[in-house]
Amino acid sequence: MTRHLAYLAYGTALLALLGFAEYRGWSLLRTSETRNVPRSVRDNPGAYRSPYVGGGRILRGK
């Protein structure tokens, strides 16, 4: 059993990383961007400009 010290360390680190990622809610993919918005958006949603606006025309299917 002790001959696999490297494997034990590697696997334990892997599972620890997995546990931490699950705990903190990490993701492998980058699906979003973050920035600050003015408080007025709540009252005037139309004034908000998202970097994703207009993508629908490019991303759509058929």
Binding site: H4, Y7, L15, E22, T34, R42, G46, Y48, G56, R60
Partner: protein, 437 residues
């Protein structure tokens, strides 16, 4: 009772060239080779008649000089004889060397060497049993099963020193080797009899240390028949460690998937051409620690698409996370077969959202040629497990045991390439050097 005097060493003179010959094997020696003219003499004959000579000019220098002594199994042995033998396989000659080790009380041992691989061999007096294992010839001895490795006819090419039998240049013996690494069982057959011997693989380092030889032993080349596999024991135990990790991984997943994630928001909306104003959802609280947020869109879209531009806004800090999702679904019948493309639902996970009070700002878009309104439902769930992580962890955990297993198999494949069976490995699990520790 008068004590007998010590058995004396005889000093001989070669009748062929007159050189002095020292006899180290006492009266056990039947043949002795003159170190100067290489004639092999009959030691039992008072006039030392010449028994045989080896044709050709092959001269081989033994790596263990004759007369060297070493401790083997707690007793001193002296190298008194040396021979080079060879077999012919597929037109190629393979030569190896044998050293005869002698102790006047315990008898004879042999040390064989081929391509830097050494074996310590002793005569076996019990009879091995012939059996079959895995469709192949094998021999059972001492509780172990030895698999047949090679059969070949061996001839002697060159000798030095003494031997307890009559050596003749035209000697031929059929040699059959059976292996159970690190041991090898060999049968040497002549017309008169079959002699069995058991060899144990030893390293060049052991030989050099035992006989206190200068310099370094020659590096071994390739994999030898009964060379123990350095991966054999590791191959089993590494999978045992993997099983431990697998159990831990399954336990982690069980804990994680045990409780259903909390649903923090569920809202339904309808999209129709002209009714596409951006809006904000109700506020909702994300409690607990920083974790992810799953946004699920379920709809009844059919042969069309819609696009939702989201901003997850933190009421307290004013920070927003922007993301957008497209939902499209198409179906039809072509040539009698139904086809579909896309999906009516979409799921995305927003990572590392700190706790706080949030709302979602949504800006929908609809396909310009949409004819029917689309209804959709937003479902938000907090702290959702990421199944992909577990799959990735499993794959990464598999890498070391798979690698060790592959290397062990490659080692065995190389071993069996030298055998009569070419590159067939047969039952690999039974052929490698497994030691239970």
């Amino acid at each position: 009772m008068v004590a007998a005097p010590p058995v004396a060493v005889r000093a001989l003179r070669c009748p062929s060239c007159g050189a002095a010959i020292e006899q180290r094997g006492f009266d056990h020696t039947r043949s002795v080779a003159c170190a100067s003219c290489f004639a092999v003499l009959d030691a039992a004959d008072p006039s030392l008649r010449v028994l045989t000579r080896f044709a050709g000019h092959l001269r081989v220098r033994p790596q263990i000089p004759l007369g060297t002594r070493g401790q083997v199994g707690g007793a001193p042995y002296e190298a008194i004889g040396f021979m080079q033998r060879s077999i012919a396989v597929d037109g190629e000659r393979y030569a190896w060397r044998e050293y005869l080790l002698f102790n006047p009380y315990r008898g004879f041992l042999y040390l064989t060497e081929y391509d830097g691989h050494w074996n310590l061999v002793r005569t076996v007096r019990a009879l091995p049993e012939r059996v079959h294992q895995g469709g192949r010839l094998a021999a059972r001895y001492g509780g172990d099963t030895f698999r047949h490795f090679q059969t070949a006819v061996a001839g002697t090419d060159f000798v030095l020193g003494e031997f307890p039998w009559e050596v003749r240049a035209e000697d031929r013996a059929e040699v059959r080797d059976f292996i159970a690494p690190p041991r090898v069982l060999s049968a040497e057959s002549t017309d008169d009899e079959t002699a069995w011997s058991l060899g144990e693989y030893v390293t060049g380092a052991w030989v050099w240390k035992t006989f206190e030889l200068p310099g370094r032993p020659p590096a071994p080349r390739g994999v030898y028949a009964n060379q123990p596999s350095p991966f054999a024991a590791a191959r089993r135990s590494v999978w045992q460690v993997f099983m431990l990790f697998l159990i831990a991984l399954v336990a982690m997943a069980a804990v994680r998937y045990a409780d259903a994630p909390a649903q923090v928001l569920r809202e339904s909306r309808q999209l129709a051409p002209g009714q596409l104003d951006p809006y904000v959802t109700e506020s909702f609280t994300l409690g607990g620690r920083t974790s992810n947020l799953e946004v699920r869109v379920g709809s009844d879209v059919s042969n069309s698409w819609f696009y939702l531009v989201f901003a997850l806004v933190d009421e307290g800090s004013g920070r927003a996370v922007d993301f957008a999702r497209e939902v499209s679904y198409y179906e039809g019948v072509e040539g009698g077969e139904r086809w579909t493309e896309g999906s009516r639902t979409d799921r995305v996970r927003i990572p590392s959202v700190p706790p706080g009070r949030y709302y979602l700002r949504v800006a929908p878009e609809l396909a310009p040629d949409a004819v029917r309104p689309v209804s959709y439902t937003l479902t938000l769930r907090r702290d959702v497990p990421s199944g992909g992580f577990y799959a990735v962890a499993l794959l990464l955990l598999l890498v070391p045991p798979v690698w060790v297993t592959a290397r062990a198999a490659a080692f065995e494949s190389t071993r069996w390439m030298e055998s009569d069976y070419g590159s067939a490995t047969g039952n690999a699990a039974a052929s490698d050097g497994e030691d239970d520790d």
